[in-house]
Protein backbone atom coordinates (compact mmCIF):
# COMPACT_ATOMS: atom_id res chain seq x y z
CA UNK A 1 0.00 0.00 0.00
CA UNK A 2 2.79 2.38 0.74
CA UNK A 3 4.26 1.40 -2.56
CA UNK A 4 0.99 2.20 -4.15
CA UNK A 5 1.02 5.62 -2.60
CA UNK A 6 4.41 6.17 -4.06
CA UNK A 7 3.04 5.58 -7.45
CA UNK A 8 -0.10 7.53 -7.01
CA UNK A 9 1.54 10.58 -5.68
CA UNK A 10 3.43 11.68 -8.72
CA UNK A 11 0.65 10.46 -10.89
CA UNK A 12 -2.02 12.41 -9.12
CA UNK A 13 -1.23 15.88 -10.36
CA UNK A 14 -0.34 14.48 -13.73
CA UNK A 15 -3.70 12.83 -14.20
CA UNK A 16 -5.27 16.19 -14.20
CA UNK A 17 -2.91 17.75 -16.63
CA UNK A 18 -2.86 14.63 -18.67
CA UNK A 19 -6.48 15.07 -19.44
CA UNK A 20 -5.25 17.04 -22.33
CA UNK A 21 -3.26 14.12 -23.61
CA UNK A 22 -6.38 12.11 -23.53
CA UNK A 23 -5.82 13.92 -26.56
CA UNK A 24 -2.96 11.51 -26.16
CA UNK A 25 -5.42 8.83 -26.73
CA UNK A 26 -6.03 10.43 -29.99
CA UNK A 27 -2.43 9.93 -30.93
CA UNK A 28 -3.33 6.39 -31.60
CA UNK A 29 -4.77 6.05 -35.06
CA UNK A 30 -8.50 6.23 -34.98
CA UNK A 31 -8.48 8.10 -31.70
CA UNK A 32 -10.51 11.11 -30.93
CA UNK A 33 -7.75 13.61 -31.41
CA UNK A 34 -8.05 13.21 -35.08
CA UNK A 35 -11.30 15.02 -34.75
CA UNK A 36 -9.51 18.05 -33.52
CA UNK A 37 -7.77 18.85 -36.76
CA UNK A 38 -11.03 18.32 -38.56
CA UNK A 39 -12.68 20.83 -36.37
CA UNK A 40 -9.86 23.17 -37.00
CA UNK A 41 -10.27 22.57 -40.65
CA UNK A 42 -13.91 23.39 -40.47
CA UNK A 43 -13.18 26.58 -38.71
CA UNK A 44 -10.70 27.49 -41.28
CA UNK A 45 -13.06 26.81 -44.07
CA UNK A 46 -15.79 28.75 -42.42
CA UNK A 47 -13.52 31.64 -41.82
CA UNK A 48 -11.73 31.45 -45.09
CA UNK A 49 -10.98 34.75 -46.53
CA UNK A 50 -10.95 36.64 -43.28
CA UNK A 51 -7.42 36.65 -42.24
CA UNK A 52 -7.70 37.40 -38.56
CA UNK A 53 -10.20 34.65 -37.99
CA UNK A 54 -8.35 32.24 -40.08
CA UNK A 55 -5.63 32.50 -37.59
CA UNK A 56 -8.05 31.83 -34.81
CA UNK A 57 -9.09 28.72 -36.58
CA UNK A 58 -5.55 27.59 -36.63
CA UNK A 59 -5.22 28.30 -33.01
CA UNK A 60 -8.11 26.08 -32.29
CA UNK A 61 -6.52 23.40 -34.30
CA UNK A 62 -2.93 23.37 -33.21
CA UNK A 63 -3.34 25.20 -30.01
CA UNK A 64 -5.38 22.30 -28.78
CA UNK A 65 -2.71 19.86 -29.66
CA UNK A 66 -0.18 21.86 -27.88
CA UNK A 67 -2.29 22.25 -24.81
CA UNK A 68 -2.74 18.54 -24.76
CA UNK A 69 0.85 17.63 -25.27
CA UNK A 70 2.62 20.06 -23.27
CA UNK A 71 0.36 21.19 -20.58
CA UNK A 72 2.57 20.36 -17.71
CA UNK A 73 5.58 21.64 -19.48
CA UNK A 74 3.42 24.12 -21.15
CA UNK A 75 2.52 26.31 -18.25
CA UNK A 76 5.93 27.78 -18.21
CA UNK A 77 6.00 27.98 -21.91
CA UNK A 78 2.77 29.84 -22.10
CA UNK A 79 3.91 32.46 -19.76
CA UNK A 80 7.08 32.61 -21.69
CA UNK A 81 5.19 32.96 -24.87
CA UNK A 82 3.73 36.04 -23.37
CA UNK A 83 7.06 37.43 -22.50
CA UNK A 84 8.36 36.78 -25.88
CA UNK A 85 5.38 38.41 -27.39
CA UNK A 86 5.20 37.92 -31.09
CA UNK A 87 8.57 36.30 -31.26
CA UNK A 88 7.16 33.45 -29.33
CA UNK A 89 5.75 31.94 -32.44
CA UNK A 90 2.66 29.97 -31.90
CA UNK A 91 2.84 30.32 -28.17
CA UNK A 92 2.05 33.87 -28.89
CA UNK A 93 -1.41 32.80 -29.86
CA UNK A 94 -2.31 32.85 -26.28
CA UNK A 95 -1.40 36.46 -25.73
CA UNK A 96 -2.83 37.43 -29.06
CA UNK A 97 -6.10 35.84 -28.16
CA UNK A 98 -6.02 37.72 -24.95
CA UNK A 99 -5.57 40.90 -26.79
CA UNK A 100 -8.36 40.03 -29.14
CA UNK A 101 -10.62 39.56 -26.21
CA UNK A 102 -9.36 42.59 -24.46
CA UNK A 103 -9.89 44.74 -27.45
CA UNK A 104 -13.41 43.42 -27.50
CA UNK A 105 -13.77 44.36 -23.88
CA UNK A 106 -12.50 47.74 -24.63
CA UNK A 107 -15.42 48.24 -26.94
CA UNK A 108 -17.73 46.99 -24.30
CA UNK A 109 -18.14 43.34 -25.29
CA UNK A 110 -17.21 40.35 -23.22
CA UNK A 111 -14.67 37.98 -24.59
CA UNK A 112 -16.42 34.93 -23.32
CA UNK A 113 -19.82 36.46 -23.82
CA UNK A 114 -20.12 35.90 -27.52
CA UNK A 115 -17.76 34.38 -29.97
CA UNK A 116 -18.68 36.90 -32.60
CA UNK A 117 -17.17 39.71 -30.66
CA UNK A 118 -13.85 38.20 -31.34
CA UNK A 119 -14.37 38.62 -34.97
CA UNK A 120 -15.58 42.10 -34.41
CA UNK A 121 -12.42 42.96 -32.61
CA UNK A 122 -10.36 41.36 -35.28
CA UNK A 123 -12.20 43.07 -38.06
CA UNK A 124 -11.99 46.28 -36.26
CA UNK A 125 -8.34 46.60 -37.18
CA UNK A 126 -8.45 49.47 -34.80
CA UNK A 127 -5.83 52.11 -35.28
CA UNK A 128 -4.59 51.96 -31.74
CA UNK A 129 -0.84 52.03 -31.49
CA UNK A 130 0.96 48.78 -31.01
CA UNK A 131 1.88 49.62 -27.52
CA UNK A 132 4.39 48.03 -25.17
CA UNK A 133 4.38 46.11 -23.01
CA UNK A 134 2.98 43.21 -24.93
CA UNK A 135 2.75 41.16 -21.80
CA UNK A 136 -0.93 40.97 -21.08
CA UNK A 137 -2.02 41.83 -17.61
CA UNK A 138 -3.96 39.25 -15.66
CA UNK A 139 -7.44 39.22 -17.04
CA UNK A 140 -9.22 40.41 -13.93
CA UNK A 141 -7.27 43.59 -13.65
CA UNK A 142 -7.69 44.32 -17.32
CA UNK A 143 -11.39 43.96 -16.99
CA UNK A 144 -11.37 46.30 -14.09
CA UNK A 145 -9.43 48.91 -15.89
CA UNK A 146 -11.64 48.87 -18.94
CA UNK A 147 -8.98 50.79 -20.80
CA UNK A 148 -8.55 50.34 -24.50
CA UNK A 149 -5.84 47.96 -25.41
CA UNK A 150 -3.67 47.73 -28.45
CA UNK A 151 -4.97 45.63 -31.28
CA UNK A 152 -3.26 42.39 -32.10
CA UNK A 153 -0.15 42.78 -34.11
CA UNK A 154 -1.27 40.80 -37.10
CA UNK A 155 1.78 39.36 -38.76
CA UNK A 156 1.69 39.44 -42.49
CA UNK A 157 2.38 35.92 -43.66
CA UNK A 158 5.50 35.57 -45.66
CA UNK A 159 5.39 33.90 -49.02
CA UNK A 160 7.70 30.99 -48.45
CA UNK A 161 8.43 27.99 -50.61
CA UNK A 162 7.14 24.61 -49.60
CA UNK A 163 10.63 23.35 -48.81
CA UNK A 164 11.29 26.25 -46.48
CA UNK A 165 7.96 25.86 -44.78
CA UNK A 166 8.64 22.20 -44.26
CA UNK A 167 12.06 22.94 -42.82
CA UNK A 168 10.41 25.29 -40.35
CA UNK A 169 8.12 22.64 -38.90
CA UNK A 170 10.47 21.66 -36.09
CA UNK A 171 11.09 25.24 -35.06
CA UNK A 172 7.39 25.94 -35.38
CA UNK A 173 6.46 23.01 -33.15
CA UNK A 174 8.86 24.33 -30.55
CA UNK A 175 7.48 27.85 -30.87
CA UNK A 176 10.89 28.95 -31.99
CA UNK A 177 10.24 30.92 -35.16
CA UNK A 178 9.18 34.47 -35.80
CA UNK A 179 5.55 35.50 -35.80
CA UNK A 180 5.62 35.96 -39.57
CA UNK A 181 7.04 32.50 -40.09
CA UNK A 182 4.55 31.05 -37.66
CA UNK A 183 1.71 32.60 -39.58
CA UNK A 184 3.12 31.40 -42.88
CA UNK A 185 3.55 27.85 -41.58
CA UNK A 186 0.07 27.76 -40.15
CA UNK A 187 -1.49 29.05 -43.29
CA UNK A 188 0.37 26.38 -45.17
CA UNK A 189 -0.79 23.64 -42.84
CA UNK A 190 -4.34 24.34 -43.85
CA UNK A 191 -3.60 23.34 -47.41
CA UNK A 192 -0.87 20.73 -47.13
CA UNK A 193 -1.94 17.44 -45.57
CA UNK A 194 1.57 16.00 -45.41
CA UNK A 195 2.95 18.97 -43.56
CA UNK A 196 -0.08 19.08 -41.27
CA UNK A 197 0.49 15.44 -40.35
CA UNK A 198 4.12 16.04 -39.64
CA UNK A 199 3.33 19.19 -37.71
CA UNK A 200 0.96 17.31 -35.47
CA UNK A 201 3.49 14.57 -34.93
CA UNK A 202 6.23 17.02 -34.05
CA UNK A 203 3.94 18.94 -31.72
CA UNK A 204 3.21 15.73 -29.90
CA UNK A 205 6.90 15.03 -29.72
CA UNK A 206 7.47 18.36 -27.99
CA UNK A 207 5.23 17.09 -25.22
CA UNK A 208 7.66 14.24 -24.70
CA UNK A 209 10.59 16.50 -23.97
CA UNK A 210 11.32 16.24 -20.32
CA UNK A 211 13.91 17.93 -18.32
CA UNK A 212 16.26 15.15 -17.33
CA UNK A 213 15.61 14.47 -13.69
CA UNK A 214 18.76 15.14 -11.82
CA UNK A 215 18.94 11.90 -10.00
CA UNK A 216 21.82 11.45 -7.68
CA UNK A 217 22.55 7.80 -7.71
CA UNK A 218 23.05 6.60 -4.17
CA UNK A 219 26.79 5.86 -4.05
CA UNK A 220 26.10 2.89 -1.82
CA UNK A 221 23.92 1.39 -4.51
CA UNK A 222 26.98 0.28 -6.46
CA UNK A 223 28.21 -1.95 -3.67
CA UNK A 224 24.73 -3.32 -3.08
CA UNK A 225 24.15 -4.07 -6.74
CA UNK A 226 27.54 -5.68 -7.28
CA UNK A 227 27.31 -7.72 -4.10
CA UNK A 228 23.85 -8.91 -5.08
CA UNK A 229 25.19 -10.04 -8.45
CA UNK A 230 28.22 -11.80 -7.00
CA UNK A 231 26.05 -13.63 -4.48
CA UNK A 232 23.93 -15.00 -7.29
CA UNK A 233 26.83 -16.00 -9.47
CA UNK A 234 30.22 -16.14 -7.74
CA UNK A 235 32.91 -14.60 -9.93
CA UNK A 236 35.61 -16.76 -11.39
CA UNK A 237 37.96 -13.79 -11.34
CA UNK A 238 37.11 -11.77 -8.23
CA UNK A 239 38.45 -8.33 -7.41
CA UNK A 240 40.95 -8.97 -4.59
CA UNK A 241 39.77 -7.81 -1.22
CA UNK A 242 42.60 -5.26 -1.00
CA UNK A 243 41.63 -3.64 -4.33
CA UNK A 244 37.98 -3.14 -3.43
CA UNK A 245 38.38 0.10 -1.52
CA UNK A 246 40.20 1.58 -4.50
CA UNK A 247 37.52 0.30 -6.86
CA UNK A 248 34.76 1.77 -4.71
CA UNK A 249 36.45 5.12 -4.08
CA UNK A 250 37.33 5.76 -7.71
CA UNK A 251 33.75 4.90 -8.67
CA UNK A 252 32.42 7.32 -6.08
CA UNK A 253 34.63 10.14 -7.26
CA UNK A 254 33.73 9.42 -10.87
CA UNK A 255 30.04 9.65 -10.00
CA UNK A 256 30.68 13.01 -8.36
CA UNK A 257 32.34 14.25 -11.56
CA UNK A 258 29.51 13.00 -13.73
CA UNK A 259 27.47 16.15 -14.00
CA UNK A 260 30.27 18.68 -13.72
CA UNK A 261 30.21 21.49 -16.23
CA UNK A 262 33.20 23.62 -17.18
CA UNK A 263 32.64 25.90 -14.22
CA UNK A 264 33.05 22.99 -11.83
CA UNK A 265 36.03 21.54 -13.64
CA UNK A 266 37.84 24.83 -13.29
CA UNK A 267 36.77 25.58 -9.76
CA UNK A 268 39.83 26.42 -7.65
CA UNK A 269 40.97 23.82 -5.16
CA UNK A 270 43.62 24.24 -2.54
CA UNK A 271 45.55 21.07 -1.84
CA UNK A 272 46.92 20.98 1.68
CA UNK A 273 49.50 18.65 3.08
CA UNK A 274 52.22 18.49 5.63
CA UNK A 275 55.80 18.78 4.51
CA UNK A 276 58.75 18.75 6.87
CA UNK A 277 57.74 20.96 9.72
CA UNK A 278 54.83 22.88 8.38
CA UNK A 279 51.55 22.68 6.60
CA UNK A 280 51.85 23.66 3.00
CA UNK A 281 49.36 24.04 0.21
CA UNK A 282 49.10 24.47 -3.50
CA UNK A 283 46.44 25.97 -5.68
CA UNK A 284 45.01 24.03 -8.56
CA UNK A 285 41.61 23.27 -10.07
CA UNK A 286 39.25 20.33 -9.94
CA UNK A 287 40.75 19.11 -13.20
CA UNK A 288 44.20 19.64 -11.72
CA UNK A 289 43.32 17.38 -8.80
CA UNK A 290 42.22 14.62 -11.16
CA UNK A 291 45.46 15.07 -13.08
CA UNK A 292 47.30 14.66 -9.78
CA UNK A 293 45.45 11.42 -9.05
CA UNK A 294 46.12 10.21 -12.59
CA UNK A 295 49.82 10.92 -12.31
CA UNK A 296 50.27 9.26 -8.93
CA UNK A 297 47.99 6.29 -9.62
CA UNK A 298 50.33 5.91 -12.59
CA UNK A 299 52.99 4.60 -10.18
CA UNK A 300 50.79 1.59 -9.52
CA UNK A 301 49.82 1.28 -13.18
CA UNK A 302 53.47 1.28 -14.14
CA UNK A 303 54.33 -1.45 -11.65
CA UNK A 304 51.45 -3.58 -13.01
CA UNK A 305 52.83 -3.26 -16.52
CA UNK A 306 50.24 -0.75 -17.74
CA UNK A 307 51.03 2.39 -19.71
CA UNK A 308 52.49 5.29 -17.84
CA UNK A 309 50.16 8.29 -18.10
CA UNK A 310 53.21 10.53 -18.10
CA UNK A 311 54.54 8.99 -21.30
CA UNK A 312 58.03 10.35 -21.29
CA UNK A 313 57.00 13.76 -20.06
CA UNK A 314 58.81 13.50 -16.77
CA UNK A 315 58.34 9.76 -16.58
CA UNK A 316 61.70 9.65 -14.83
CA UNK A 317 60.08 11.43 -11.91
CA UNK A 318 59.37 8.83 -9.28
CA UNK A 319 57.88 10.55 -6.29
CA UNK A 320 54.20 11.44 -6.26
CA UNK A 321 54.94 15.13 -5.99
CA UNK A 322 57.47 15.14 -8.81
CA UNK A 323 55.15 13.15 -11.05
CA UNK A 324 52.30 15.53 -10.43
CA UNK A 325 54.45 18.59 -11.14
CA UNK A 326 55.81 16.90 -14.25
CA UNK A 327 52.31 16.10 -15.48
CA UNK A 328 51.06 19.60 -14.82
CA UNK A 329 54.12 21.09 -16.50
CA UNK A 330 53.95 18.84 -19.54
CA UNK A 331 50.51 19.95 -20.59
CA UNK A 332 50.55 23.24 -22.43
CA UNK A 333 47.23 24.21 -21.02
CA UNK A 334 45.88 23.76 -17.54
CA UNK A 335 44.09 20.42 -17.20
CA UNK A 336 40.49 20.33 -18.38
CA UNK A 337 37.63 17.88 -18.11
CA UNK A 338 39.38 15.74 -20.72
CA UNK A 339 41.53 14.37 -17.90
CA UNK A 340 38.57 12.43 -16.52
CA UNK A 341 38.60 9.76 -19.24
CA UNK A 342 42.26 8.76 -18.88
CA UNK A 343 42.03 8.82 -15.10
CA UNK A 344 38.96 6.59 -15.11
CA UNK A 345 40.35 4.22 -17.70
CA UNK A 346 43.54 3.87 -15.75
CA UNK A 347 41.71 3.16 -12.49
CA UNK A 348 39.57 0.54 -14.22
CA UNK A 349 42.67 -1.00 -15.75
CA UNK A 350 44.39 -1.13 -12.37
CA UNK A 351 41.46 -2.97 -10.79
CA UNK A 352 41.22 -5.31 -13.76
CA UNK A 353 44.92 -6.11 -13.77
CA UNK A 354 45.05 -6.51 -10.02
CA UNK A 355 42.22 -9.04 -10.32
CA UNK A 356 44.13 -11.06 -12.89
CA UNK A 357 47.38 -11.05 -11.01
CA UNK A 358 45.35 -12.59 -8.22
CA UNK A 359 45.73 -12.42 -4.51
CA UNK A 360 49.39 -13.42 -4.73
CA UNK A 361 50.34 -10.11 -6.28
CA UNK A 362 49.34 -8.19 -3.18
CA UNK A 363 52.88 -8.42 -1.87
CA UNK A 364 54.49 -7.03 -5.01
CA UNK A 365 56.48 -3.88 -4.23
CA UNK A 366 55.33 -0.53 -5.61
CA UNK A 367 57.97 2.17 -5.58
CA UNK A 368 56.98 5.67 -4.52
CA UNK A 369 60.46 6.94 -5.27
CA UNK A 370 61.84 7.31 -1.78
CA UNK A 371 59.89 4.45 -0.25
CA UNK A 372 58.06 1.33 -1.28
CA UNK A 373 54.72 -0.21 -0.44
CA UNK A 374 53.36 -3.63 -1.24
CA UNK A 375 50.64 -3.47 -3.91
CA UNK A 376 47.87 -4.24 -1.43
CA UNK A 377 48.87 -1.25 0.69
CA UNK A 378 49.56 0.95 -2.30
CA UNK A 379 45.99 0.45 -3.45
CA UNK A 380 44.67 1.22 0.04
CA UNK A 381 46.80 4.35 -0.04
CA UNK A 382 45.46 5.31 -3.46
CA UNK A 383 41.90 4.68 -2.23
CA UNK A 384 42.59 6.96 0.70
CA UNK A 385 44.05 9.66 -1.53
CA UNK A 386 41.10 9.36 -3.85
CA UNK A 387 38.67 9.90 -1.00
CA UNK A 388 40.61 12.82 0.48
CA UNK A 389 40.86 14.58 -2.87
CA UNK A 390 37.24 13.82 -3.67
CA UNK A 391 36.45 15.73 -0.48
CA UNK A 392 38.65 18.60 -1.65
CA UNK A 393 36.72 18.65 -4.90
CA UNK A 394 33.32 18.30 -3.24
CA UNK A 395 34.19 21.18 -0.96
CA UNK A 396 35.34 23.32 -3.88
CA UNK A 397 32.07 22.87 -5.73
CA UNK A 398 29.95 22.77 -2.60
CA UNK A 399 28.61 19.24 -2.94
CA UNK A 400 28.11 16.85 -0.08
CA UNK A 401 30.43 13.86 0.04
CA UNK A 402 30.16 10.93 2.37
CA UNK A 403 33.00 9.00 3.97
CA UNK A 404 33.89 5.60 2.52
CA UNK A 405 31.98 2.47 3.44
CA UNK A 406 32.99 1.31 6.94
CA UNK A 407 34.91 -1.77 5.85
CA UNK A 408 36.90 0.23 3.30
CA UNK A 409 37.57 2.92 5.84
CA UNK A 410 38.79 0.29 8.26
CA UNK A 411 41.39 -0.85 5.74
CA UNK A 412 42.63 2.69 5.25
CA UNK A 413 42.85 3.36 8.98
CA UNK A 414 44.68 0.09 9.44
CA UNK A 415 47.22 1.14 6.82
CA UNK A 416 47.72 4.51 8.50
CA UNK A 417 48.25 2.84 11.86
CA UNK A 418 50.80 0.48 10.37
CA UNK A 419 52.58 3.32 8.61
CA UNK A 420 52.80 5.52 11.66
CA UNK A 421 55.90 3.93 13.28
CA UNK A 422 57.80 4.11 9.98
CA UNK A 423 56.84 7.71 9.43
CA UNK A 424 57.86 8.64 12.94
CA UNK A 425 61.15 6.80 12.61
CA UNK A 426 61.87 8.65 9.37
CA UNK A 427 61.10 11.97 11.00
CA UNK A 428 63.37 11.19 13.89
CA UNK A 429 66.16 10.33 11.54
CA UNK A 430 65.61 13.64 9.83
CA UNK A 431 65.70 15.37 13.18
CA UNK A 432 62.10 16.44 12.83
CA UNK A 433 60.75 14.47 15.75
CA UNK A 434 61.68 14.01 19.34
CA UNK A 435 63.94 10.98 19.81
CA UNK A 436 62.32 7.84 21.00
CA UNK A 437 62.02 7.94 24.78
CA UNK A 438 64.41 5.61 26.54
CA UNK A 439 62.78 2.35 27.59
CA UNK A 440 61.14 2.86 30.89
CA UNK A 441 62.12 6.51 30.86
CA UNK A 442 59.56 9.19 31.66
CA UNK A 443 59.28 12.62 30.27
Amino acid sequence: MTELNHFEEPEGPEEGTEDGPDGTQGREPGGTAYEVPEQGGDDREGDAGRYGDERDGDTGHYGDDRGGDGRHHGDERDSDGRHRGDDGGSDAHQPRDDRDGDAGLGSGAGHYGGGDDDGGAGDGASPLPDREPRIPMPRASVEDSGRPLPPPAVPVPLRLEHGVLKSLLGAWALAACSAEETAAVEEHLGSCGACADEARRLREAVGLLQRPESLDLDPALRTRVLQGCLDRRPPRIPVPEWARAYDAETARLDALLQDFGDAEWHAPVRLRWFAGEEATSRRTTVAGVIAHLLAVDGLVALALGLDDPLEGAGAEARTPGARTEAYWRASHFPPTRTVRGPWREQSHAIVRTASFTGSTAGGMGISYGDFELPLRDALLDRAFECWVHAEDIAEAVDYPYDPPAPRHLRGMIDLAARMLPKVLAARRQAGLARPRPAPGGRR
Binding site: G170, L174, A205, P212, L226, P235, V239
Partner: protein, 193 residues
Protein backbone atom coordinates in the same frame (compact mmCIF):
# COMPACT_ATOMS: atom_id res chain seq x y z
CA UNK B 1 20.86 4.23 -35.89
CA UNK B 2 21.85 1.90 -38.68
CA UNK B 3 23.28 -1.36 -37.54
CA UNK B 4 26.97 -1.59 -37.91
CA UNK B 5 28.60 -4.67 -39.32
CA UNK B 6 31.10 -5.00 -36.53
CA UNK B 7 29.69 -4.39 -33.08
CA UNK B 8 31.72 -1.93 -31.08
CA UNK B 9 34.76 -3.54 -29.59
CA UNK B 10 33.99 -2.44 -26.06
CA UNK B 11 30.61 -4.18 -26.14
CA UNK B 12 32.06 -7.42 -27.40
CA UNK B 13 34.92 -7.45 -24.92
CA UNK B 14 32.57 -6.62 -22.09
CA UNK B 15 30.34 -9.50 -22.95
CA UNK B 16 33.31 -11.89 -23.07
CA UNK B 17 34.64 -10.64 -19.78
CA UNK B 18 31.25 -11.01 -18.10
CA UNK B 19 30.92 -14.49 -19.52
CA UNK B 20 34.34 -15.33 -18.08
CA UNK B 21 33.08 -14.30 -14.67
CA UNK B 22 35.31 -11.29 -14.23
CA UNK B 23 34.03 -9.24 -11.31
CA UNK B 24 35.98 -6.17 -12.42
CA UNK B 25 34.01 -6.18 -15.68
CA UNK B 26 30.78 -6.07 -13.73
CA UNK B 27 32.02 -2.96 -11.94
CA UNK B 28 32.88 -1.30 -15.25
CA UNK B 29 29.51 -2.25 -16.65
CA UNK B 30 27.84 -0.65 -13.66
CA UNK B 31 29.93 2.49 -13.97
CA UNK B 32 28.95 2.90 -17.57
CA UNK B 33 25.25 2.09 -17.41
CA UNK B 34 24.01 2.56 -13.86
CA UNK B 35 22.73 6.08 -14.37
CA UNK B 36 21.00 5.10 -17.61
CA UNK B 37 19.35 2.11 -15.97
CA UNK B 38 18.37 3.96 -12.85
CA UNK B 39 16.95 6.99 -14.62
CA UNK B 40 14.91 4.92 -17.09
CA UNK B 41 13.52 2.82 -14.27
CA UNK B 42 12.78 5.94 -12.32
CA UNK B 43 10.98 7.51 -15.27
CA UNK B 44 8.72 4.48 -15.56
CA UNK B 45 8.15 3.85 -11.87
CA UNK B 46 8.51 7.31 -10.37
CA UNK B 47 9.93 5.94 -7.17
CA UNK B 48 13.46 5.70 -5.75
CA UNK B 49 13.09 2.35 -4.06
CA UNK B 50 11.50 0.73 -7.08
CA UNK B 51 14.20 2.17 -9.35
CA UNK B 52 16.84 0.75 -7.01
CA UNK B 53 15.21 -2.63 -7.27
CA UNK B 54 15.10 -2.56 -11.07
CA UNK B 55 18.74 -1.50 -11.18
CA UNK B 56 19.64 -4.54 -9.12
CA UNK B 57 17.56 -6.81 -11.31
CA UNK B 58 19.04 -5.49 -14.54
CA UNK B 59 22.65 -5.93 -13.51
CA UNK B 60 21.94 -9.29 -11.95
CA UNK B 61 20.38 -10.40 -15.20
CA UNK B 62 23.32 -9.26 -17.29
CA UNK B 63 25.78 -10.82 -14.87
CA UNK B 64 23.97 -14.13 -14.71
CA UNK B 65 23.11 -14.35 -18.37
CA UNK B 66 25.70 -12.41 -20.35
CA UNK B 67 25.08 -14.72 -23.29
CA UNK B 68 21.60 -13.36 -23.84
CA UNK B 69 23.21 -10.29 -25.32
CA UNK B 70 24.24 -10.81 -28.90
CA UNK B 71 26.62 -8.03 -30.00
CA UNK B 72 25.48 -8.50 -33.58
CA UNK B 73 21.99 -7.28 -32.80
CA UNK B 74 23.09 -3.85 -31.69
CA UNK B 75 24.92 -1.87 -29.06
CA UNK B 76 25.02 -3.10 -25.49
CA UNK B 77 23.63 0.25 -24.35
CA UNK B 78 20.45 -0.25 -26.37
CA UNK B 79 20.12 -3.76 -25.11
CA UNK B 80 20.55 -2.72 -21.49
CA UNK B 81 18.03 0.09 -22.00
CA UNK B 82 15.45 -2.23 -23.47
CA UNK B 83 15.97 -4.77 -20.73
CA UNK B 84 15.49 -2.03 -18.14
CA UNK B 85 12.44 -0.78 -19.95
CA UNK B 86 10.88 -4.20 -20.04
CA UNK B 87 11.53 -5.03 -16.40
CA UNK B 88 10.36 -1.61 -15.21
CA UNK B 89 7.15 -1.72 -17.23
CA UNK B 90 6.53 -5.25 -15.99
CA UNK B 91 6.97 -4.13 -12.43
CA UNK B 92 4.71 -1.12 -12.91
CA UNK B 93 1.99 -3.27 -14.39
CA UNK B 94 2.33 -5.84 -11.60
CA UNK B 95 2.22 -3.20 -8.86
CA UNK B 96 -0.74 -1.44 -10.37
CA UNK B 97 -2.61 -4.65 -11.00
CA UNK B 98 -2.09 -5.71 -7.41
CA UNK B 99 -3.33 -2.34 -6.22
CA UNK B 100 -6.38 -2.66 -8.44
CA UNK B 101 -7.10 -6.14 -7.14
CA UNK B 102 -7.01 -4.85 -3.58
CA UNK B 103 -9.82 -2.52 -4.39
CA UNK B 104 -7.75 0.43 -5.50
CA UNK B 105 -9.27 3.11 -7.62
CA UNK B 106 -9.27 3.12 -11.37
CA UNK B 107 -10.05 0.73 -14.14
CA UNK B 108 -8.12 -1.72 -16.22
CA UNK B 109 -8.12 0.77 -19.08
CA UNK B 110 -6.69 3.48 -16.89
CA UNK B 111 -4.02 1.07 -15.79
CA UNK B 112 -3.11 0.29 -19.36
CA UNK B 113 -3.03 3.95 -20.21
CA UNK B 114 -0.80 4.68 -17.29
CA UNK B 115 1.56 1.89 -18.24
CA UNK B 116 1.62 3.00 -21.86
CA UNK B 117 2.22 6.58 -20.86
CA UNK B 118 5.13 5.60 -18.62
CA UNK B 119 6.58 3.42 -21.35
CA UNK B 120 6.43 6.21 -23.93
CA UNK B 121 7.96 8.69 -21.50
CA UNK B 122 10.85 6.34 -20.78
CA UNK B 123 11.44 5.66 -24.46
CA UNK B 124 11.41 9.39 -25.14
CA UNK B 125 14.06 9.88 -22.47
CA UNK B 126 16.17 7.23 -24.01
CA UNK B 127 15.81 8.65 -27.50
CA UNK B 128 16.83 12.11 -26.34
CA UNK B 129 19.79 10.64 -24.54
CA UNK B 130 20.86 8.50 -27.46
CA UNK B 131 20.36 11.00 -30.27
CA UNK B 132 23.39 12.73 -31.78
CA UNK B 133 24.64 15.45 -29.47
CA UNK B 134 24.10 18.31 -31.98
CA UNK B 135 20.41 17.47 -32.23
CA UNK B 136 20.07 17.25 -28.49
CA UNK B 137 21.84 20.57 -28.06
CA UNK B 138 19.46 22.24 -30.52
CA UNK B 139 16.38 20.90 -28.73
CA UNK B 140 17.86 21.87 -25.41
CA UNK B 141 18.38 25.42 -26.60
CA UNK B 142 14.99 25.85 -28.24
CA UNK B 143 12.90 24.08 -25.65
CA UNK B 144 14.53 24.45 -22.28
CA UNK B 145 16.30 27.74 -22.86
CA UNK B 146 13.50 29.05 -25.04
CA UNK B 147 15.73 30.42 -27.71
CA UNK B 148 14.20 30.83 -31.13
CA UNK B 149 15.87 29.03 -33.98
CA UNK B 150 17.91 32.04 -35.03
CA UNK B 151 19.32 32.44 -31.53
CA UNK B 152 19.83 28.69 -31.43
CA UNK B 153 21.83 28.92 -34.64
CA UNK B 154 24.03 31.62 -33.12
CA UNK B 155 24.45 29.67 -29.88
CA UNK B 156 25.47 26.54 -31.70
CA UNK B 157 27.55 28.32 -34.32
CA UNK B 158 25.59 26.92 -37.25
CA UNK B 159 23.51 28.41 -40.05
CA UNK B 160 19.84 29.09 -39.53
CA UNK B 161 19.05 26.39 -42.07
CA UNK B 162 21.04 23.93 -40.03
CA UNK B 163 19.36 24.97 -36.80
CA UNK B 164 15.95 24.40 -38.39
CA UNK B 165 17.09 21.06 -39.72
CA UNK B 166 18.33 19.92 -36.32
CA UNK B 167 15.18 20.95 -34.52
CA UNK B 168 13.03 19.15 -37.03
CA UNK B 169 15.16 16.03 -37.12
CA UNK B 170 15.41 15.91 -33.34
CA UNK B 171 11.64 16.06 -32.98
CA UNK B 172 11.20 13.48 -35.72
CA UNK B 173 13.41 11.09 -33.79
CA UNK B 174 11.63 11.86 -30.58
CA UNK B 175 8.23 11.26 -32.11
CA UNK B 176 9.21 7.64 -32.70
CA UNK B 177 8.79 7.11 -28.96
CA UNK B 178 5.15 6.47 -29.76
CA UNK B 179 5.92 3.50 -31.98
CA UNK B 180 7.10 0.46 -30.14
CA UNK B 181 8.76 -1.20 -33.08
CA UNK B 182 10.99 1.62 -34.22
CA UNK B 183 14.72 1.25 -34.51
CA UNK B 184 16.39 3.60 -32.12
CA UNK B 185 13.74 3.18 -29.51
CA UNK B 186 14.33 0.21 -27.28
CA UNK B 187 11.81 -2.37 -28.39
CA UNK B 188 9.58 -3.43 -25.61
CA UNK B 189 10.30 -7.10 -25.94
CA UNK B 190 13.54 -7.12 -27.83
CA UNK B 191 16.75 -8.59 -26.57
CA UNK B 192 16.93 -10.38 -23.31
CA UNK B 193 14.72 -13.07 -21.95
Amino acid sequence: MAKKDAPPRWDRKMQQRLARGEAAALGELYDRFASLVYSLAHRVLGDDRAADGITREVFAHVWEHPDTYDPKTGPLRTWVASLTHRLAVQRLRATETAALAQGGQGSAEELERKVRHAAVAARADYIVQAMPAPLRAALESAYFQRRDYRQTAVDLGVTEDEARRRLRLGLQLLSTAHDTATPGAPPEYGGAV
